[in-house]
């Protein structure tokens, strides 16, 4: 019955426009998107370069990229905490317990996901795409854009997976953000806090938001993949 009551209360919070709750959602979405926007260009570029080029140490680069996927976020949080703390090398930025610190953490967490998925997507693409572009005189940048366009559904899956990873992580956001109400409290840190206090309604409400976001993001991907099989004319 307690669960039922908490769930009922959670829906009431969501439908009632609870300002504190929606602010938490906003902070989560904002920091996650900013982190991904910062991570995407270098991650996609690196993923493409590793996939397309043979160089000494390439296998080590692939191994490191894939190993970084399983890096515990709390460890990233600890390292960032040490870097951003007053005595740390980046202490002067004053990003600890502030949203820029969370964004930096989300960027570091999202980068290996984006890199590894982009690498896999480009590697899976028929090499004749790049060869055809090269054979028709495309510059290296145009070849890259062509290949990424052809692998776009894999790259989009990388972005969506990266978003899922950063918005759902709790360790780094808690350590670097500090879970300060109205400033650095995110969906996951709020759920952890409210649950520890025995206040389940807000936790369930935020959980519903997380699940809804996951469904929406993956729904968009499914729609795009469907469109991939029925592409329209473009010239």
């Amino acid at each position: 019955m307690a669960l039922l009551d908490a769930t009922r209360h959670a829906f009431a919070l969501l439908s009632g426009g609870d300002a504190a709750l929606w602010h938490i959602v906003w902070v989560s979405i904002k920091t996650s998107i900013l982190g991904l926007l910062l991570a995407a260009p270098p991650a996609v570029l690196l993923g493409y370069l590793i996939a397309m080029h043979r160089f000494p140490g390439r296998r080590i680069a692939v191994w490191l990229a894939q190993a970084a996927l399983s890096l515990p976020t709390v460890l990233i949080g600890l390292l960032l905490y040490l870097m951003l703390s007053r005595r740390g090398p980046m202490g002067g930025l004053e990003w600890l317990f502030a949203q820029p610190g969370i964004v930096l953490g989300q960027m570091i967490i999202g980068l290996p996901v984006l890199l590894a998925f982009t690498l896999a997507a480009v590697q899976a693409l028929d090499p004749r795409h790049a060869e055809t572009a090269i054979a028709h005189g495309a510059s290296p940048v145009r070849v890259m854009l062509t290949v990424l366009h052809e692998a776009r559904y894999g790259v989009m899956a990388a972005v969506i997976s990266g978003f899922g990873r950063v918005i759902s992580e709790v360790g780094c956001a808690l350590m670097v953000g500090g879970n300060i109400e109205g400033q650095t409290r995110t969906i996951t840190t709020a759920i952890a806090l409210e649950t520890s206090k025995g206040e389940f309604a807000q936790g369930i409400a935020l959980g519903i938001v997380l699940v809804t976001l996951a469904l929406l993001m993956n729904g968009v991907l499914v729609l795009l993949q469907g469109e991939a099989h029925n592409p329209g004319a473009r010239l």
């Binding site: 054979a135 005189g137 004319a233």
Partner: protein
């Protein structure tokens, strides 16, 4: 390629071409001492290969003899260990592949890949890469599509083209760049009936318009096209027939 049989009887060494004194007599492409090895295994050791201007060649040889690899090296998609080339009389390296060759030589895959845009965009791809003005581009694409008989496919999804249509679109995509040399890897492979005949009919028109064509193929109808010169790869060496 010098069409004369090698008097020395060495199938790997075609007779040396007398140095050209006029631009017209200069081979379009002259390749010398082309070597490629995989580990200890020597794949190619070609002493000389001359491609004449506005001429068609078929490159034959058993499966695995390296026909595709040779075309890919000439098209800058694969490295050779050592090679010297002269294109229209200008000495150039084959690796790294020089811009002058990239703009004048186009390689077409056995199974051409289409970019997932539209047929029209695919044909325009190389022109867009070269920064050709949009209005000029449109006219060139229209002309190339008409040549290949694919005008009606302009807005189609390339994924839904038949094998023959894809091959004709690929030929139009290459021809629109007005290359001096086209390298076609098995252009009629896996095609039959009308589709094959349509592709074969396009080859002489490329030569008539001034391009040279080298085709790796087994297709008797291509090999027996009038005026086509024959190259044969065997044991990494090239013979002219």
């Amino acid at each position: 390629m010098n069409p004369a049989e090698n008097p020395a009887g060495n199938p790997g060494v075609t007779p040396a071409v007398t140095p050209a004194v006029t631009p017209a007599a200069t081979p379009l492409l002259s390749v010398q001492r082309l070597r490629k090895a995989h580990g200890q295994r020597l794949l190619f050791d070609i002493a000389r290969l001359d491609i004449a201007r506005a001429a068609a060649y078929v490159l034959t040889g058993a499966n695995g003899s390296g026909k595709s690899t040779l075309l890919r090296m000439l098209g800058g998609l694969e490295r050779c260990d050592s090679c010297r080339v002269a294109f229209e009389g200008q000495d150039l390296p084959l690796y790294p592949y020089p811009r002058q060759l990239r703009q004048r030589i186009v390689y077409v895959h056995q199974h051409p890949i289409m970019f997932s845009t539209s047929v029209g965009h695919n044909i325009a791809y190389g022109l867009l890469a070269r920064g050709v003005d949009r209005r000029v581009l449109r006219a060139l694409v229209d002309e190339a599509m008409a040549w290949a008989g694919v005008t009606h496919l302009r807005d189609n999804d390339p994924a839904r083209l038949s094998g023959g249509e894809k091959q004709r679109v690929a030929l139009a995509r290459a021809r629109v760049l007005q290359p001096r040399l086209l390298l076609l890897d098995e252009p009629t492979a896996n095609l039959d009936g009308e589709a094959r005949e349509q592709v074969i009919a396009l080859i002489p028109t490329l030569v008539e318009q001034g391009a040279s064509v080298v085709m790796a193929c087994h297709d008797r109808d291509l090999i027996n096209l009038p005026g086509v010169r024959r190259l044969k790869l065997r044991d990494g060496r090239l013979a002219v027939r």
